[in-house]
């Protein structure tokens, strides 16, 4: 399994580890902004996968992979803007951004 050059599996390895770190951040953090950071890590891992698959498996003249990665970056920007606006209004309302303390719908 030892290769002389960098292959698709190595990119998938890095992206899998990055995704795992993002999952850990999303699940374990209390601060809502830190949860958003975990989401950003996961989106980055997915974008890296798209480009790696395009390079190693896809048609070099069909740019579906990079275009999808570009869409992911766009969605990430929109998600950050809307997410932070939500966090801002939650902070005004509850005076905290800890996701553990925001339990208004906890019956």
């Amino acid at each position: 399994m030892i290769h002389s050059s960098v292959g698709l599996y190595h990119y998938l390895l890095v992206s899998g580890l990055l995704f795992g770190l993002g999952v850990f951040g999303v699940l374990s953090r209390r601060n809502a902004i830190a949860v958003l950071m975990g989401v950003e890590l996961m989106l980055n891992a997915a974008g890296l996968n798209f480009v790696a698959f395009w390079r190693f498996k896809g048609d070099a003249l069909d740019f579906a992979g990079p275009v999808f990665a570009l869409m992911i970056i766009t969605v990430a920007a929109a998600e950050a803007a809307v997410g932070l606006a939500i966090i801002l209004s939650v902070y005004r309302r509850f005076d905290t951004v800890d996701v553990d303390d925001i339990n208004l719908m906890d019956g």
Partner: protein, 179 residues
């Protein structure tokens, strides 16, 4: 050989800061640790022959999203309080779950794509080709992205603006009221 060294360096400057992002006790430091991670991903895009994406990654993530996150952190209290708990009580389970997901992803990738041939040669200058693709076969997603951004901007402004201007609605003698 140089390719491998570049890859290992990029992997290190991507993954080690990412680990700091999710474990750092200071939320502001966690936000700053995002910088090398995003730059490392941009480096991976460069080694994969997507120069345009690398530039966009730096512009949007480092110049936009990270700065936005840091601004939002500054608006919250107890930034560097060492007493504040940064992780919830399910941290152990979260760790087990995250490791399980990473192991599943990596093992399935190894099984499916463990031995890949070298990549096919790229055409010269993928940026121009990608621009043609965006305005040709992928015109619809391109336009949908602009509509999405418009909706996100309007939505973010509406939510962040708060509940109107209190002085006009509340009687001046009472004040206060619902925050």
């Amino acid at each position: 050989m140089g390719e491998q060294i570049t890859f290992i360096l990029l992997a290190l400057i991507t993954l080690l800061p990412a680990a700091m992002v999710v474990t750092s006790r200071n939320i502001f430091h966690a936000g700053l640790w995002l910088l090398p991670t995003f730059v490392g991903i941009a480096g991976f895009f460069l080694t994969l022959g997507a120069e345009f994406l690398a530039a966009i990654q730096i512009l949007i993530y480092v110049g936009g999203i990270m700065v936005l996150l840091l601004f939002a952190i500054l608006l919250t209290r107890r930034i560097g309080d060492p007493e504040a708990r940064m992780h919830n009580r399910l941290e152990g389970w979260a760790f087990i779950f995250a490791v399980a997901i990473a192991v599943i992803l990596i093992l399935s990738a190894r099984q499916q794509f463990g031995d890949t041939a070298a990549p096919s040669p790229l055409p010269e200058g993928t940026t121009a080709k990608m621009g043609e693709a965006l305005l040709g076969p992928y015109l619809l997603p391109f336009e949908i992205a602009s509509v999405l951004l418009l909706a996100a901007i309007v939505g973010a402004i509406v939510m962040a603006r708060g509940e109107g201007t209190p002085p006009k609605r509340l009687p001046p003698s009472r004040g206060g009221g619902k925050r």
